[in-house]
Amino acid sequence: MAGVSALLSARGLRVAGPGGAALVDGVDLDLEAGEVTALVGESGAGKTLTGLALLGLVPPPARMEAGAVTLGGVDLGALAPRERRRVRGAGIALVPQDPAAALDPVARVGAQLAEVLRAHAPLGRREARIAASAALAEVGVDRDDHPHRLSGGQRQRALIAMALAPRPRVLVADEPTASLDPSVQVAVLDLIDARRREEGLAVLLISHDLGAVARVAGRVAVMYAGRIVEEGPARAVLSAPRHPYTAGLLALAPRLGAPRVRVPIPGAPPQPGRLPPGCAFAPRCPAAREECRAARPELRAAGPARRVACVLTDREAAALGRGPS
């Protein structure tokens, strides 16, 4: 926990699905200026919904049931809808999940970017168009193209340019590299990272890709079944995971020199609303014991700036990381 200095902090985020089942349950997040925080976990863990909850855009029929988000000390929940809208884009920007679908197919990218600029600054049409062309030229996209004429990488870069154009303080990047070639992935991450270094942008990087996370993230939060199960400095979490789930994810990540056969985590994540009574990961956990099934472990401090929701001690977790063989 970074404490009071965080640029954006979320407390007790809770998002419920149509049946009332918790999809995101009691998530706390702190994003520091100039730092990339990675949010990792399997599909369905609630990563995207957490990101959207920060923007106040939980898509129906899901809805945000509880939680507070403050940006630079301002409680976003207390803002009038119009002011809340202005925070989107200019305060907290989003790079959406699917670049193929996130651009308006019938409008030129330049016009779309200019529109975003004009929504946040008192620019004339001409000024906005010139600024939009420049922002797109920077990422190698022609403003007069329609989205369907762009490659996947160009679309993603155009979306990042759109998100960064109003100079946001926080960027939520939802799987920005998921559908891209490896070489393009690096370019896209560098684009975001440059803004972080130069302007102190705070980034929430939602990702499956632990390689990308290791490359750019300062902190890592691991989500499982709607909760954060481990959180801490990226280097520490990725080199010495304290939660068996993090260890399982790391064992799956491709790595040079690692054995080609990777052991998947057995079983599947639980359905929302059908969580086991104790630790949600217990049914799949290699180190689960009786107490894990009895009560859910809360997040607790575990070393410098680290928290984990697991009953295992340091030593037990370290042994787990080395594996039984």
Partner: protein, 382 residues
């Protein structure tokens, strides 16, 4: 640009054989329908030798292929034959006399129904399941279920009844309440409030129009088609003329508003769920820009296509509407020509209708390509 004109040329070239088939089928149907002079023979006092002269003059005793050939060869030369009913005037002149009235009626009805259908569709789609949406849905189903002739007659009867009872006060009262309620909330209210205000204003206007007729002599003004010609001095935009238009245009628009607004609602609801609309919200665009600038712009293309495809059906509606309101247009002329076996006039109108439908479809495809850059003209690469 050249690709577009080449495309248009290709489409028009394909249209020619289509028009030929339309003419052949229509001719056969009209020719086989009945003996063209049976009605004449039945009229007492019509001399058989006059009938024989008509048969001779119009070539009615020839077999169908000879009749068709002479009609076709005349038609392409611009000679559409003689009208059997209009005092021996040319069929083409008879039709062209009636054409402006139909263009006026259909054009206005097209405008009114397209604008209202899109507006109702947007209002419904942005608040699905709300009272406003359910009301519009109910009205749309009622409009869809009411045949055009019934709607026309009911509107006429309503207008007559209100005139006789001085009940222009009814729309006036409702309109005033709506207008005041709307104005009171206009500053804070959304689109629904504006719609209520507008509806109130329209009702008051309607009441004033009705009232204007109460003491006057032109008591049939709302429900008959005493139309002014295009040429006569400035009459086209007179209050009197516009009053004549109100009910026929409304009658012809009802079904279209019902169907198109449902379609607009469905397409727009889908579009509002799309990723790029969610992304536009995340970029901080106002809801108005998101709905009208992005979602509706995407949702218009399919509606434009439906509107163009429906133009043919709209002409059938015009035949009924013009008949009910004695509107002196091509639709009523077609109905009369069909009843009177005036084959040259009927054929001319059918051909004009066919050309209009083909052109409307072409315009729809061009509009679709213009509205959606992903759609290539004629199946090629964009």
């Amino acid at each position: 640009m050249r690709a577009v004109s080449a495309y248009i040329g290709r489409r028009l070239a394909i249209a020619l054989p289509l028009l030929w088939v339309v003419s052949l089928v229509s001719y056969l149907l009209l020719y086989r329908a009945a003996d063209p002079v049976a009605r004449l023979r039945a009229i007492p006092g019509v001399r058989p030798e006059d009938v024989a002269r008509l048969v001779e003059q119009q070539g009615l005793d020839a077999p169908w292929y000879e009749g068709y050939w002479s009609w076709l060869s005349g038609f392409v030369r611009g000679d559409w034959g003689v009208s059997a009913t209009n005092g021996g005037a040319g069929a083409r002149e008879t039709i062209l006399d009636a054409l402006p009235a139909t263009i006026e009626l259909m054009g206005l009805a097209l405008l009114v129904s397209a604008v209202l259908a899109v507006a109702f569709g947007v209002v419904s789609a942005t608040r699905p399941g709300s009272g406003t949406d359910l009301t519009l849905t109910g009205v749309a189903y009622a409009g869809f279920a009411t045949p055009t002739f019934l709607a026309g007659v009911l509107l006429q009867l309503g207008a007559i009844w209100m005139r006789d009872h001085g009940w222009a006060i009814v729309p006036f009262a409702i309109g005033t309440v709506l207008l005041l309620a709307g104005l009171a909330r206009l500053r804070r209210g959304g689109a629904a409030t504006r719609a209520v205000t507008a509806a109130g204003a329209v009702l008051i206007l309607l009441a004033v129009v009705l009232w204007d007729r109460l003491g006057g002599d032109g008591t049939t003004i709302l429900y008959t088609g005493q139309r002014f010609s295009f040429g006569s001095e400035g009459d086209l935009l007179s209050l009197n003329h516009l009053q004549h238009l109100v009910l026929p245009v409304l009658t012809l628009s009802l079904v279209n508003i019902a169907v198109w607004s449902r379609f607009q609602r469905a397409v727009l609801i889908d579009e509002l769920r799309s990723e790029h609309v969610a992304a536009a919200r995340a970029h901080g665009l106002s809801e108005r820009r998101v709905v009208l600038g992005h979602a509706l712009r995407n949702a218009l293309a399919p509606v434009v296509t439906l509107v163009a495809l429906d133009l043919g059906a709209m002409f059938s509606g015009a035949v009924v509407t013009e008949t009910v309101f004695s509107w002196p247009g091509m639709g009523r002329l077609l109905r009369d020509a069909a009843v009177d076996r005036d084959i040259n006039v009927a054929m001319g109108i059918v051909m004009i209708g066919a050309v209009a439908v083909i052109v409307a479809n072409l315009i729809a495809d061009l509009a679709y390509a213009a509205l959606d850059p992903r759609v290539p003209l004629g199946g090629g690469r964009p």
